[in-house]
């Protein structure tokens, strides 16, 4: 169906923008230094968005606004997961920023703006709107990273993020301009139609290469990964937890719109490029993570490896493999949020938690949290019954079905390498001799949030269908 100017299709976006303006004004006149009202309104608007999105589940695919906008099951499911994980991430953020110089209304505002950018990215149906959504997301994230102005590390990583993000956007734009030259249209449907009737040609290939490079930059996949550990390390922990988790879901939506929908006919052109990037990420990410002592850097390199696994799911190019990749990225966002949640949890007001060895003695003195953190690490390593296992299984299954047997074996072998550094964290918690009991001074809301997050990894692992069925319906694989 094709409708133009049907504003009911962008209800969620209009609501969020109105809510943002209201929160901005309310925040301005607030005397309360803890910004309780701003926080409450932010979380309430996310809940309303979730309800709105949940009601539109199962709606038919409609293309509107002269082909620039699409509302389908894929967009709805991705948006729902974006709201849910942002909601959780803000609970982490609240207790982290409240005792630092970061407690400001803009923190919540910029987070909501980035959510708006992500909603646009996953619902965009033209190169122009994809790019605008990406810029809205990136600009908010640059500002969030730079928010801690008195920290030189945070400022440095903000500048790095800005330059690298600008470079990646430039690559994507250059590719889009070439595609526009070859096809004469910015609409994804028109581009797909053009390439199904004509061969892709040299200009199209050239543009596609630029788009793939830009996407890999944004994902932080090897060989475009150099910026990622520095930024994850330098940014304030609560912001790292956010930028490492939620935007990846939106980036998946963007990848689907660009690669699978616009270039679905020329899959042989991009699948091999993505395959190389994915395998390099799996290998390098896992190997370098082994030598990391800083937990944030360790998680950053493990993020690179996870992106590699996720991209391996995109490579076969079937609807089943796309839904497996979607499952992977949503689960990954939930896991990595818990991972950086540990860093936030262990940091206190005057001490930034850094080293893996700081976790020593946790198993003896705080057995509950040690158990929760072990769940996170084992889930990330991909061991059943935790949730991290199931999407990995689906990815490998799809690889093998489609004939990528050697690639699947390499990926599995390096996930065994990955097991080493995940289990090393568990070992430090339980078996290393502790000099002193680790201090925990986090607030009650943070304790509840991290318990909920970690237990979700266990319960969703016991009920793997709970998320996966939505991923399957997003690609029309379930009745």
């Amino acid at each position: 169906m094709n409708e133009s100017m049907n504003f009911s299709l962008i209800t969620s976006e209009i609501f969020l923008l109105c809510a943002l303006c209201v929160i901005m004004i309310v925040d301005l006149f607030q005397r309360d230094k803890e910004r309780v009202l701003t926080f409450t309104l932010t979380q309430a608007s996310l809940i309303v968005l979730f309800v709105l999105g949940f009601n539109s589940l199962g709606a038919e695919r409609i293309i509107s606004f002269d082909g620039h906008w699409v509302t389908d099951e894929l967009a709805t499911v991705l948006k729902l997961s974006i709201y849910a994980i942002t909601f959780l991430a803000l609970f982490y953020a609240r207790s982290f920023i409240s005792h630092r110089n970061l407690m400001r209304g803009e923190y919540y505002l910029l987070t909501l703006f980035s959510v708006l950018g992500m909603m646009i990215m996953v619902s965009a149906n033209s190169f122009l709107v994809v790019y605008l959504g990406l810029e809205l997301l990136s600009l908010s994230l640059y500002a969030l990273v730079a928010l801690q102005r008195d920290s030189s590390v945070a400022s440095e990583s903000a500048v790095k993020y800005f330059v690298m993000g600008g470079l990646a956007s430039g690559f994507i734009l250059y590719g889009v301009s070439l595609i526009y030259g070859a096809t004469g249209s910015l609409l994804i449907a028109d581009v797909a139609k053009h390439f199904s009737e004509n061969s892709i040609g040299l200009v199209g290939q050239f543009g596609l290469v630029f788009i793939v490079i830009g996407l890999s930059f944004k994902f932080g996949a090897v060989p475009f990964h150099m910026w990622l550990p520095d930024i994850y390390h330098g940014a304030p922990s609560s912001i790292t937890a956010f930028i490492a988790s939620v935007p990846k879901i939106a980036a998946f939506g963007m990848t689907m719109r660009l690669l699978s929908e616009a270039f679905g006919q020329s899959i042989s052109q991009w699948a091999s490029m993505i395959l190389i990037v994915a395998l390099l990420s799996v290998i390098l990410g896992n190997v370098i993570a082994v030598s990391q002592n800083n937990l944030k850097r360790l998680l950053a390199y493990s993020a690179i490896a996870h992106i590699g696994y996720f991209l391996l799911g995109v490579v076969p190019g079937t609807q089943e493999s796309f839904s497996a990749a979607m499952y992977y990225i949503i689960v990954y966002a939930l896991m990595t949020l818990a991972g950086f949640g540990i860093v936030i949890f262990m940091s206190s007001e005057n001490k930034e938690y850094q080293k893996v060895t700081d976790l020593r003695g946790l198993g003896r003195y705080h057995p509950w949290y040690a158990l929760l953190f072990s769940i996170v690490m084992i889930s990330m390593a991909g061991i059943p019954p935790f949730i991290g296992f199931w999407p990995k299984l689906e990815i490998f299954r799809n690889l093998i079905i489609n004939g990528y047997v050697v690639e699947a074996i390499v990926a599995i072998a390096f996930s065994v390498v990955g097991l080493f550094y995940y289990l090393r964290v568990v070992k430090e918690m339980y078996f290393a001799e502790a000099v002193d009991a680790p201090e925990i001074s986090s607030s009650r809301s943070l304790k509840i949030a991290i318990s909920v997050n970690c237990l979700l990894l266990l319960f969703l692992g016991l009920l793997p269908d709970s998320i996966y069925q939505y991923c399957l319906t997003a690609f029309n694989l379930m009745g």
Partner: protein, 217 residues
């Protein structure tokens, strides 16, 4: 050679010269001024392409506003530009190879690829009363409505980000940190100091000091 071709080639030559000067001039203020020249020549080329509105907005927005701000920044900051150029000669060969390869590919597009003259017919000249602004305005609020609105939101984010990054008001708060108070424990708050048992009255430390000084003398 027609008059149009003469105008095009002269402005194109200016553009290339100015662009090279932007990256090669030693003085950063000069480089910024050459960037102004680049924009001005580019806008002249756009005028030739009958994109009058874009040409004027390039002058008004970039030359008039952005470049003036950039000049301010360049003059205010004390950046060591010599340090920025380190490694220029070392990396030049690789950069040149990539640039030349890029140029060859793009040139092949223009001569016998998808963008060649056979595939792209020369567009007919517009009528004298054709309005660029009308054509733009017509699509911005219809076909490109959603993109236009998103661009507005991006500007709003830019305002908020700029203010929150430069605001220099009071940041510290005098509020209770309840979880910190709850986490207070004996080990951190109490310090047990070993004090020697009571010393007898005639041997206080003062007298000891006096005794010692007497012995030394």
């Amino acid at each position: 050679m027609t008059f149009q071709a003469i105008v095009f080639y002269s402005f194109a030559a200016w553009l290339i010269f100015a662009a090279i000067m932007v990256i090669s001039s030693k003085n950063s203020v000069k480089a910024a001024l050459f960037l102004v020249l680049t924009f001005a020549s580019a806008s002249a080329i756009w005028l030739l392409l009958e994109a009058e509105f874009l040409a004027i907005s390039l002058i008004v927005v970039y030359v008039g506003a952005v470049m003036v701000l950039l000049l301010f920044v360049v003059m205010m900051l004390d950046v060591d530009y010599a340090a920025l150029r380190q490694g220029f000669v070392k990396k030049l060969p690789i950069a040149l190879i990539i640039a030349i390869a890029f140029f060859v590919v793009l040139y092949s597009f223009l001569t016998h690829g998808e963008f060649s003259a056979e595939k792209f017919a020369e567009p007919a000249a517009k009528a004298a009363d054709y309005s660029n602004i009308k054509a733009l305005g017509r699509v911005i609020y219809t076909e490109y409505f959603i993109a236009f609105e998103i661009a507005a939101v991006i500007l709003l984010v830019a305002i908020i980000a700029a203010i929150s990054l430069t605001f220099r008001g009071r940041r510290n708060r005098k509020s209770q940190n309840i979880s910190k108070q709850l986490a207070a424990n004996k080990k951190n708050r109490l310090k047990i100091v070993k004090v020697d048992p009571v010393v007898s009255a005639n041997e206080t430390s003062d007298e000891l000091a006096v005794n010692q000084s007497e012995k030394q003398s």
